[in-house]
């Protein structure tokens, strides 16, 4: 009743190729954007905006980045946080060394630097396949963690190794409150999501999916392997790099190598597993789930167990439940929460006459 395509005719080619062919989908997206841009700043408090919504958006962006390379193009990447670190430290150094560079351009360039690094670490993928590729990304992970801890130039010789970005402004508007940081993050994430959405439904996205499904057949039907794979690495690392820059600038307010360790990489990997491999919606759902679940769980556990067990034990239990959840999801629904979303949508299409 509420969600159906009956009566919505596509009369032009532009209609047929449109991003959201269903009227209901368009309304939903516009509504969501309105809530995110207008409703949230009006209604939510600083804690929600600064500590939950901003990191949610940043993690969603990072998940989209990882999803492009691992979920869509099928190239395993266990070092997502390394590319985020590259983005974050590039942004910091651009700001430090070329202060006249506008912030948006700075983020863009940082993304490009991360993309370049991604291409370099993507090069082995032309020869190495499958699980062996995992070591490439682990090499990136450990190399960059080491680089940003030990080479002092990157953090401007600050003795703690943790640097604070200078105050930001966009078109003369200062970005200093949680709300303005949130709006900046939201704008960037919205634009990049649009870019990703269009990339994935275009020729390039279909080529990536073909590589994922079977490399040999993809090559046989004329997909240029080197070019396509490296492009996937570049685009994915670009997204991760921008996410990293945002993570340092708008969320943490400081940048240090320890924030981008292997654990962080796994967190992002879990987001795309739980959200759904290869799905944009899944990136958002996964990020929300992984971010909110520990908060929810610690609230519940504090309420029920706080007198019974100590803090360290709570941490262990969280780890335990988290791991169990990953296993559970992979066994029960390998396609992730995005699949459930799809099922609900299909049900709604038929409702109330399921046949």
């Amino acid at each position: 009743m509420i969600y159906r395509e009956a009566g919505q005719f596509k009369t032009t080619y532009a209609d047929d190729a449109s991003m959201l062919p269903l009227r209901e989908d368009r309304w939903f997206i516009w509504g969501l954007l309105a809530v995110a841009f207008i409703g949230v700043p009006l209604l939510a408090n600083d804690y929600w905006i600064g500590a939950i919504l901003t990191p949610f958006l940043i993690y969603s962006l990072a998940s989209i980045g990882l999803n492009i390379i691992t979920g869509v193009a099928g190239q395993l990447n266990l070092g997502a946080a390394a590319f985020m670190a590259v983005g974050a430290f590039s942004a910091y150094n651009f700001q430090l060394r070329i202060p006249e560079l506008p912030l948006i351009i700075n983020f863009l360039f940082s993304g490009f630097i991360a993309a370049g690094v991604g291409v370099i670490f993507g090069l082995p993928s032309l020869r190495i396949k499958g699980l062996y590729l995992a070591v490439t990304s682990l090499a990136a992970q450990f190399l960059f963690e080491w680089l940003f801890t030990n080479v002092e130039w990157f953090y401007n010789y600050v003795s703690s190794g943790s640097v604070t970005p200078a105050p930001m402004d966009v078109f003369g508007i200062a970005i200093d409150t949680p709300i303005s940081k949130y709006l900046l993050t939201l704008s960037i994430v919205a634009v990049l999501t649009l870019v990703a959405r269009n990339l994935l439904r275009s020729r390039i996205g279909r080529q990536w999916r073909a590589i994922h499904d079977m490399e040999v057949s993809a090559e046989v039907i004329g997909i240029k392997m080197a070019q396509t794979k490296l492009l996937a690495f570049a685009v994915s690392s670009f997204f991760l790099g921008v996410a990293g820059a945002l993570y340092g600038f708008t969320y943490l307010g400081s940048i240090e190598a320890a924030a981008f360790d292997l654990h962080q990489s796994f967190i992002i990997l879990f987001m795309i597993i739980i959200g759904g491999m290869g799905s944009l919606v899944g990136s958002f759902i996964g990020a929300a789930f992984i971010l909110l679940f520990p908060i929810f769980m610690s609230q519940v556990m504090h309420a029920t167990l706080s007198g019974v067990v100590d803090q360290g034990m709570l941490g262990n239990l969280e780890l335990l439940i988290f791991g169990a959840l990953i296993i559970f999801f992979l066994i029960v629904e390998p396609a992730g929460l995005a699949r459930l979303w799809q099922v609900v949508k299909n049900k709604l299409r038929m409702w109330p006459f399921p046949h």
Binding site: T70, G74, L76, P124, R127, I128, K129, G130, L131, Y132, A134, V135, T136, L138, A139, F142, L143, E145, W146, T149, N150, V151, M214, E215, V216, S217, V220, L262, F266, L269, F270, I273, G312, M313, N316, L317, E318, L319, L320, I321, F322, G323, A324, L325, I326, I327, L330, I331, P334
Partner: protein, 301 residues
């Protein structure tokens, strides 16, 4: 030159420890095609269980046996609960489920046995040995006696495994399965038993590795991170070769210590051994994409 030799030998011996972890990976990968990311955590789990039993006043050998029992049960449980429902999934899904498993085991191990660092004393002395004391014209270098003990243990373990694989019925079944699961099944080898068996054996290997690592570095959370270095070992040796695991371990151990010494000095920055093995493995992969001893696969459409 003597100093170089000393570092080289120390590196080789520490590489033996990597080989021990890598062995567990290879066993499981050969038999079930699962790349078991949780092997490092299993090492931690075994060491923690053993130390906790020991600290509760149980005799050394009895706690060894008990831990062995725990690891076998754990291996069987993992196979039954986690991996059996995922049969025929893609290797990447299987890898990811073992990453989840490693989180689970980390939480479980520390919830059961506590967070603190335990000291583990196997009663083996760690005195440096002067080679020149035993040998007339040996170079003037020091070797840790504990490292030698670890190397001997690893050698013994490999010998036992080799005997097991070549002489027993179960071992041969396991090799058949790793060769061709479908053909093995058609001649009547029960696949699930073999997979369960190999998880139990991997649990045992994890126990040995955990004891040696634990008495070296203290039984602590960091063990599972160090065990990640088994990955480049596997890459260099190949995922399917036990010989490869040993040779790869030795190569990684020696080269990372030498790199730390010489390349680190050249850069003027320490900590190179954190990433050097991975980059080395990467370079190896460019020339031999299946590792030194791995089987090369032909892709067909």
């Amino acid at each position: 030159m003597d100093f170089f030799l000393e570092v080289l030998i120390a590196g080789l011996l520490s590489g033996v420890m990597y080989s021990l972890v890598a062995l567990g990976f290879v066993l499981i990968f050969k038999a079930s095609g699962v790349f078991n990311f949780a092997q490092g955590t299993m090492v931690l789990f075994a060491a923690l269980a053993f130390v906790s039993l020991l600290e509760s006043g149980i005799n050394f050998w009895i706690s060894m046996l008990l831990t062995f029992g725990i690891m076998v049960l754990l291996g069987l449980a993992i196979e039954r609960v986690v991996l059996r429902p995922l049969i025929n999934q893609s290797p990447i899904t299987l890898l990811m489920v073992t990453i989840g498993l490693s989180f689970f085991l980390e939480g479980l191990a520390q919830a059961l046995f506590g967070n603190q660092v335990h000291a583990l004393d196997l009663g083996i002395s760690d005195d440096p040995i002067f080679l020149a004391d035993y040998w007339e014209n040996a170079p003037d270098i020091l070797i840790s006696s504990f490292d030698i003990f670890a190397a001997l243990t690893a050698g013994l373990l490999v010998a036992v495994l080799a005997l097991f694989f070549n002489k027993t019925k179960h071992g041969r079944a396991l090799r058949a399965v790793s060769d061709d699961p479908a053909a093995a099944q058609s001649v009547g080898i029960p696949l699930q038993h073999v997979t369960a068996l190999v998880w139990a054996v991997a649990g045992f290997v994890a126990l040995v590795a955990g004891l040696l690592w634990g008495s070296r570095l203290g039984v602590q959370f960091a063990l599972s991170v160090i065990a990640l270095k088994a990955l480049p070992v596997l890459i260099i040796g190949g995922f399917t070769s036990i010989t490869g695991a040993i040779v790869g371990g030795l190569l990684i151990g020696a080269s990372e210590k030498l790199a730390e010494l010489y390349v680190g000095e050249w850069f003027g920055i320490g900590g190179i051994e954190n990433w050097f093995p991975y980059v080395l493995a990467l370079v190896f992969l460019l020339f031999r994409p299946n590792g030194l001893f791995g089987e090369s696969r032909i892709n067909r459409v």
